[in-house]
């Protein structure tokens, strides 16, 4: 059942490419804003770059998740989904995993302009960077989709989603910045492995909480 839901999300995106494209374009405009607003030396910018990257990903995630849940709001597909005799936690799981896939694809594409326009060197250990980025994307999407389940059917959902999401996702952002800083600086694994543990625990905890609570949240 979960795979059917997941396939639905992926097929939707494959046909329209709406989500990834809009996230990409938004990411590019943020990089442009970064280029104009960072009037500092290249060394300082290189140190700050991981933080800037994850801040950009946060804003892009808000856009992407809002759009993803808007699909359900249109034509009131949500009600149809809810009345179907399925475990509603699976809706959360499918949104989570599909969101994770879209975010990863978008990140892989956006990091080229990010590094090139801001004149930052690629990380010395790209495999490690990609691997940790996958975990971080999972964590961000876990929190974002759970909050979205709450915020989307409210009025002012565009405002409510980031207002609720950003404080809740702050441990992920802190951990992501620490990990990326460590990788960019070429630090050994031991120095930042604690942050990977924090990310892993966030994934597990929010995944479980989201799966359990989504059933209760989407009652009608």
């Amino acid at each position: 059942m979960f795979f059917i839901l997941l396939k639905k999300e992926l097929y939707n995106e494959f046909r329209s490419r709406e989500l990834i494209l809009s996230m990409l374009v938004f990411g590019l405009s943020i990089i442009l804003a970064y280029a104009f607003t960072s009037n500092v030396s290249r060394v300082i910018l290189t140190n700050y770059a991981p933080g800037m990257f994850w801040a950009m990903i946060l804003f892009v995630t808000v856009l992407g998740v809002h759009r993803s849940f808007s699909y359900e709001k249109e034509m009131d597909a949500f009600s149809m989904l809810i009345t179907a005799p399925i475990d509603r936690g699976l809706i959360y799981l499918s949104k989570w995993i599909s969101g994770f896939i879209f975010l990863t694809v978008m990140e892989l594409i956006i990091c080229i302009p990010f590094f090139k326009f801001l004149l930052i060197d690629f990380p010395l250990n790209p495999l490690m960077a990609v691997g940790t980025a996958l975990l971080i994307n999972l964590a961000i999407m876990a929190v974002a989709n759970l909050v979205s389940g709450i915020a989307m059917r409210a009025r002012l959902s565009e405002v409510l989603l980031p207002v609720l999401m950003f404080p809740l996702v702050s441990p992920v952002v802190i951990a992501a910045t620490k990990i990326s800083n460590g990788i960019m600086a070429g630090d050994p694994y031991q120095l930042w492995q604690i942050w990977l543990l924090i990310i892993a625990s966030i994934i597990v905890i929010f995944g479980l909480v989201g799966y359990t609570l989504f059933d209760f949240i989407t009652e009608e």
Partner: protein
């Protein structure tokens, strides 16, 4: 629907709490030792930390109310959650106001990204979102469910937030008065007294607030 203080027990309770609060202040002013480098400012600790304790306790109650709301399906639990959220946010706001006032003479600057203060700030922001959601959430049944879920999520996130913020800036030391057990007896006993009096105050505030919420709800349902 009778006023809360028409009940004799509640009146006695309220007077007791007022008396205890006055006793607390008198005790702090007269019986506590004067710390050398901080003088009077150190005594802020006797209300600052109990406020934080009551705030976090209240947020814990919001989580319990949320869980019970989902398990029992009884709407009364949402009243408890709303009351606890409001009172908790009030005390956390007090912590965030009195903290910088205490910090200005002691540390020289009003704010540092110290783990517990940062966790408190993040939690405060989460609950601002909670009240925004309650305002804009839609019809009341939906709001109750979302509020219960948010209360659970927020408190589940607290230990994660605290651990990450602690490792985030390890060079920033915690409050000087961190280790409660290591405080000398002269400071510990008045502190524990203040803590218990604040908790008693909290129970009174909760009862009163739930009473007022129930009155407003009964008016709405009659329409």
């Amino acid at each position: 629907m009778t006023p809360f203080f028409q009940n004799k027990i509640n009146r006695i309770w309220c007077l007791t709490v007022v008396g205890l609060l006055l006793l607390n202040v008198w005790n702090i002013v007269s019986n506590t030792p004067m710390v050398l480098d901080q003088h009077w400012a150190q005594k802020i600790f006797y209300v600052h930390v109990p406020s934080a304790w009551v705030g976090f306790l209240s947020y814990f109650v919001v989580m319990i109310a949320g869980l019970m709301f989902f398990i029992k399906g009884d709407e009364k639990w949402d009243d408890v959650g709303l009351a606890a959220a409001g009172i908790g946010t009030m005390f956390i706001a007090l912590v965030l106001i009195t903290g910088p006032i205490w910090a200005t003479p002691i540390w020289g600057k009003p704010w540092i990204w110290e783990p517990r203060l940062t966790t408190t700030l993040i939690l405060f922001l989460i609950y601002i979102g909670y009240f925004m959601m309650r305002t804009f959430g839609g019809h009341i049944e939906r709001i109750r469910r979302y509020a219960a879920a948010l209360g659970i999520i927020a408190f589940v996130d607290v230990p994660i937030i605290f651990v990450s913020v602690q490792f985030w800036a390890p060079e920033i030391q915690s409050h000087p008065q961190v280790e409660m057990a290591q405080q000398p007896i002269g400071i510990l006993i008045p502190f524990l007294l203040s803590l218990s009096i604040f908790t008693v105050l909290y129970t009174l505030m909760m009862r009163y607030r739930i009473h007022v919420i129930r009155i407003s709800n009964s008016g709405v349902e009659n329409v």
